[in-house]
């Protein structure tokens, strides 16, 4: 088992192990930060652990042929990828495999979880794969002036709202911006490069690498892999005007007096308000309504104006009960906004 922390030396050690195991199509167990207690079998392929945004990490085994099939056919040896994910997680492993398959260069920062280190390593990067949360932070750290060679920005790991897609387009007007929906278990399922939030509805029938998706009656996305295996994603979506829009994960929903609030929806509205640069929305126990919606916001704004805008665009129960101004939004080890 390789345990890969966020430091460059750990990442390089894991990258070497990935290259060897991939060449031999042998077994590899990857863990980020700490060795999970779960006992894993050394089958050919990669065993990794889901990021555990909620709940405990879970072991997921992926055969090499399945992983190789998820590598995009577009690419070449002149591409330079900036690593922003831990390679011991699915998103980072995908970037590493892409570079191995296409002979592209991988730029490894001193720490993958430090925005300044990431920017410093990426001056010559042509390709950036990042979470929307990290992209916002890169933009706030004047990354547009420092990552000037970017041709392709791929946003994944979290839902890319219209506000973050617009931000990417403003900062890097010459780059293609792609949103991707992927999970450790179902792999890379959908991608869209039209700079619009969500995905066109047809991705359900024509997903990547033969994947087919369907929405259950409650909106949960179920993916059928090319081999016929079904994966319940735990992610909830809605179809609106032939567009697939994200509602959130079941366990993320905040119960305000019996009304289920999607934090993703509230974040989307907040990020569209002038002056709000970043935010996270979560529930907190309330002696009045069971739970109350709390919003932590980064930027320069007037709280009364933000509240007024929320009241116009959201249902009453969705309007945050508390707006807290913060310097930065905490992130999980996987680079996602922590709720």
């Amino acid at each position: 088992m390789i345990v890969a922390g966020p430091a460059e030396a750990d990442q390089r050690r894991a990258l070497a192990a990935i290259a060897d195991a991939f060449a031999a199509r042998g077994p590899l167990v990857l863990a980020a930060d700490a060795a999970p207690p779960e006992r894993v079998l050394g089958q050919p392929g990669v065993t990794l652990f889901t990021s555990g945004t909620t709940g405990a990490p879970k072991a997921v085994h992926r055969p090499w042929d399945e992983l190789a099939a998820e590598v995009s056919s577009a690419g070449g040896p002149d591409d330079r990828f900036l690593l922003t994910y831990n390679v011991a997680r699915y998103a980072g492993l995908q970037v590493a495999l892409h570079c191995l398959v296409h002979g592209a260069e991988l730029l490894v920062p001193e720490r993958v979880d430090d925005v300044e280190a990431v920017i410093a390593a990426g001056a010559s990067a042509t390709h950036l794969s990042a979470t929307p949360s990290l992209l916002r932070r890169i933009a706030m750290a004047h990354g547009a002036e420092r990552l000037t060679a970017l041709e392709q920005i791929t946003l994944g790991g979290e839902y890319a709202t219209q506000a973050v897609l617009d931000l990417a387009a403003r900062c890097w007007p010459g780059a293609r911006v792609t949103s991707i929906y992927a999970s450790s278990e179902a792999g890379a399922c959908f991608a869209a490069s039209d700079r619009l939030e969500g995905f066109p509805a047809e991705v359900l029938e024509h997903g990547r690498a033969g994947r087919v998706g369907r929405l259950e009656h409650d909106g949960e996305l179920v993916i059928t892999l090319a081999g016929g295996r079904e994966v319940r994603t735990g992610d909830f979506w809605a179809l609106q005007d032939s567009r697939l829009l994200y509602r959130g994960r079941d366990e993320d929903l905040i119960n305000v007096g019996g009304y289920k609030v999607s934090p993703a929806k509230v974040e989307r509205v907040l990020l569209g308000i002038d002056g709000v640069e970043d935010c996270r929305v979560f529930g907190r126990a309330s002696p009045v309504t069971g739970e109350v919606v709390v919003a932590e916001l980064v930027g320069e704004f007037d709280v009364a104006a933000v509240r007024a805008a929320c009241r116009t665009e959201l249902a009453r129960a969705e309007v945050p009960g508390l707006f807290r101004k913060v310097e930065a939004v905490p992130m999980t080890a996987a680079g996602k906004a922590s709720r």
Binding site: A285, S286, P287
Partner: protein, 80 residues
């Protein structure tokens, strides 16, 4: 912290219903907050005072006015 909860609650209520509110006015009936506004006021006051009220610390049947609610926060800070 005596007096502090009263001031903080009055300020938080004014964010929803602007004006000077009498400490003895009924939060729901006189001032007209609904439960969502009320929840917002409570979480704002918790945040500003750095405390978390448990539901079992409050007897809602006895908490009607701003002064009553201030009493809940004062008792929370000083249970003795």
């Amino acid at each position: 912290m005596a007096g502090e909860p009263l001031r903080v609650i009055t300020e938080a209520i004014a964010e929803h219903r602007p004006g000077d509110h009498d400490p003895d006015s009924d939060i729901l009936k006189d001032i007209g907050l609904d439960s969502l506004d009320y929840a917002s006021v409570v979480v704002s006051v918790e945040d500003r005072l750095g405390v978390s009220l448990r539901e079992d610390e409050i007897d809602w049947s006895r908490v009607n006015t701003i002064r009553d609610l201030a009493g809940v926060f004062e008792r929370h800070a000083d249970p003795a």
